[in-house]
Amino acid sequence: MEAQVLHFIQPLLGPLWAWVQPLWPLLWTMMKIVAILAPVVAAVAYLPYFERKVIAYMHVRIGPNRVGPFGLLQPIADALKLVFKEIIVPTKASKALFILGPIMGLAPALVAWAVIPFDTGLVLANIDAGVLYLLAVSSIGVYGIIISGWASNSKYAFIGALRSAAQMVSYEISMGMALIVVLMVSNSLNLTAIVAAQGKGTFAGMGIGLLSWNWLPLLPMFLVYLISGVAETNRAPFDVVEGESEIVAGHMIEYSGMAFALFFLAEYANMILISAMVSIFFLGGWLSPVGFLPDSVWWLMAKISFILFLFLWFRATFPRYRYDQIMRLGWKVFLPLCFVWIVVVGVWMMSPLNIWK
């Protein structure tokens, strides 16, 4: 691939190539980054549209249907409106940090895509410590909330930021613990290897690979990871951050225009990322569920879409958790469950019944 692009570009630049050559690795990586992020950003733009449509049909409504055919231009209209609105910086707020807050919220959700494999070999950075990288990057996301809450110079924003940050830090722990079980059975920290490990097993040999993916043998961890993912992205039923009835709009209260929109984009980008991670860790990534169909990147897309639909479905179905119940679920239910399951799987792997050889 790289050789073909080089073959095309070198004659085009002619003598300028000598200047470009030292920076070529950077340019080539940039091109790959754009190729990954452009679809992600497009999906982030259209996910709110689908959310409104899905929830509308669950409520027996129609949803957005005025702008363009089936309301398909609605996200573009929303974006245009938000771009032209004024960004108001509160008095005595720390202006640089006020602007940095929403950026820090969105950036980690995009940076994490560097290690997400889309197919065998189709990955930007095939690093051995992929799982660790994902954990590290997702732990940075909390800074967007803390910085924006503090920089707003407002008590509401600050208290909302503390609530939200405490929630995210708590659920990050159970997500990490659930992943420990996954990497125990996969015997690797590399995401490509984790997906490949799910393609082996008794059921995969029988042609029903669906049943040898991690979700079945590690069912409790799958549920813990999925629910923690919903809580980590501050989505309903854990959306106490923007609980209109309790605290105005959390850390976003002082934001307007595009700065406010960035928080929304960050939320949806995080949803897509968590869906991709669930698909890769528990649903077999790009592997085909049945033996007679080929593995392809479309399976991964279908799995991501399914998990995203679950996110929207939860929002239309469940009432909001109370804050103390959220904390109890994370620390007193999920975390002990993870510890127990690590021991259970450890014993299972050492016993003759081990299915992950």
């Binding site: 920076l23 410590a129 660790l132 732990s139 940050a165």
Partner: protein, 202 residues
């Protein structure tokens, strides 16, 4: 210039500037955030040294956990800068001594040439080298006991921290979720049968 060299100088420049900002920023929150930036760039430099586990652990532990809690505390304190500066001259000799020691140590390490320390050639790294795997294997086989000992020390630390802050108050109100789940309608609502009131009656 090799691409790696370019990356190194970029990371190093940002790191030095961020570290300077840590000690010069007037606002403690800004200083803490500059420290986060410095950690981040240190992790990048470690990555260049093929120490990917250490680099990611630095971000996960210090940036993702320690500094978040640190920021929580610093943000909630109402810090008066003038009061903080009061003891400046009093503490200057001690601080200067520590600084001089650090400069001495760093010059010994960096100027190894002149102090005739053996230069360490970077070990040859095979293609399938995985820092994380090797570290994990060492920690759980050769160094299993020291590793467990360290975890016990940490556990004792956690228990001590909980015990220091645990206060039992008699007047705190809290809920038992299991009791809440077990509640039935009859525990809360009593249906009273009353004769219907008649118009014009009474």
């Amino acid at each position: 210039m090799e691409f790696k060299t370019f990356v190194f100088y970029m990371l190093a420049t940002i790191m030095v500037l961020a570290s300077l900002r840590v000690i010069t920023a007037r606002n403690p929150v800004h200083a803490a955030l500059a420290l986060v930036l410095a950690f981040f760039n240190a992790a990048g430099i470690w990555l260049l040294l093929h120490a990917e586990f250490l680099a990611i652990a630095l971000i996960m532990v210090y940036v993702g956990a320690v500094m978040v809690l640190f920021l929580f505390v610093v943000m909630m304190l109402d810090i008066n800068i003038d009061r903080l500066r009061q003891g400046f001259w009093h503490y200057l000799p001690l601080g200067g001594l520590v600084g001089a020691l650090m400069i001495f140590e760093m010059s010994v390490v960096l100027g190894g040439h002149y102090f005739s320390l053996a230069e360490m050639a970077p070990p040859a790294i095979p293609a399938d080298h995985s820092n994380t795997r090797i570290l994990g294997r060492l920690l759980f086989t050769d160094y299993a006991y020291p590793f467990e000992l360290a975890s016990i020390v940490l556990l004792v630390g956690i228990v001590a921290a909980v015990m220091l802050t645990l206060r039992k108050r008699k007047d705190t109100k809290f809920m038992h979720p299991s009791d809440q789940v077990k509640v039935r309608r009859n525990d809360r609502v009593r249906m009273v049968s009353m004769p219907a009131e008649k118009e014009g009656g009474e």
